[in-house]
């Protein structure tokens, strides 16, 4: 096996390690192998940290206002899709109380 191919396999192992896709025993073996290889160790650690940071990074807020605005756009095209969730009071127009 030539060095170039071996390096590619090592990169793939690091990619799988970073995404948590390696079986446990292979993960342990790779970690043991990286113990005396600072370059490999750095590659593994930083890539895994990147993936973890990405997975933790998202906090897209799906607000009630967005939900209602999307429905309004659909209603405006003439489709009454009747959501199963009622519109909250604060987003409804109140009629004046007479009498």
């Amino acid at each position: 096996m030539n060095r170039k191919f071996q390096a590619k396999l090592e990169d793939l192992a690091v990619d799988l390690y970073a995404g948590g896709e390696l079986p446990e025993e292979l993960e342990e073996e790779l970690e043991a192998g990286a113990f005396n290889d600072p370059e490999l160790c750095h590659d593994m650690v930083t890539l895994r940290q990147t993936v973890e940071a990405l997975r933790r990074s998202e906090d897209v807020a799906y607000t009630e206002e967005s939900h209602q605005r999307i429905l309004m756009r659909i209603y405006a095209e003439g489709f009454d899709i009747r959501p199963k969730r009622p519109t909250p009071n604060y987003l409804q127009f109140h009629l004046p109380i007479c009498g």
């Binding site: 990619d15 995404g19 940071a53 990405l54 756009r73 489709f79």
Partner: protein, 182 residues
């Protein structure tokens, strides 16, 4: 497991009703997927108004083509594909008229600097890297399904995903490492 089985049975019921002309069945499908499609479009476009538009348009397209629906399990992939195409169209428009994305820091004082840095770096990645990261790492979509949404093979998806993660690391520089320091 139980939840996903229940979800797929519910989806089948709504799809059958919709394909038979019951437009109100879309309410159920919207409850199932509306939020996920909004999150996906927001991650792609980084702009709330555009994401709301793209989400509404995704469901409108389904409604307009409801006669073609089949309850064969491919609905979710199809839905994401429609949303993806709409996002790409919007991104093209943005390139022409330079609409600004929502500022990633606005109204989010509690976000850490790392979160902001990651989102900025993700937004700057080329689309071919950004899409697999959004679908696989943020949407938690299985590789086979993500490949179908992007209309590429699973090996091609994995290759883009792995390159994308490395590109993201390069964009972040040492930010991730520093954030782990005590």
């Amino acid at each position: 497991m139980q939840d996903s089985l229940r979800e797929s049975q519910t989806e089948k019921r709504w799809l059958t009703a919709l394909s038979e002309g019951d437009v109100s069945a879309m309410g159920g499908l919207f409850e199932l997927y509306g939020e996920r499609i909004f999150r996906y479009t927001y991650r792609m476009l980084r702009n709330r108004t555009d994401a709301e538009d793209a989400t509404a348009e995704t469901f409108l397209r389904v409604l307009k083509r409801s006669g073609e629906l089949r309850a064969d399990g491919a609905f979710r992939t199809w839905l994401f594909r429609i949303a993806r195409n709409l996002c790409i169209d919007k991104m093209r428009q943005h390139r022409l008229i330079e609409l600004p994305p929502d500022a990633v820091t606005s109204g989010a004082e509690d976000r850490t600097a790392l979160k902001v840095a990651v989102q900025q770096a993700l937004a700057e990645l080329p689309l071919e890297y950004k899409e697999p990261l959004v679908l696989c790492d943020l949407e938690d979509m299985p590789a086979r399904e993500a490949a179908e949404v992007l209309n590429i093979s699973v090996p091609a998806l994995k290759s883009r995903l792995y390159r994308g993660r490395r590109a993201l690391r390069s964009k972040l520089g040492g930010v991730v490492e520093k954030s782990d320091e005590p």
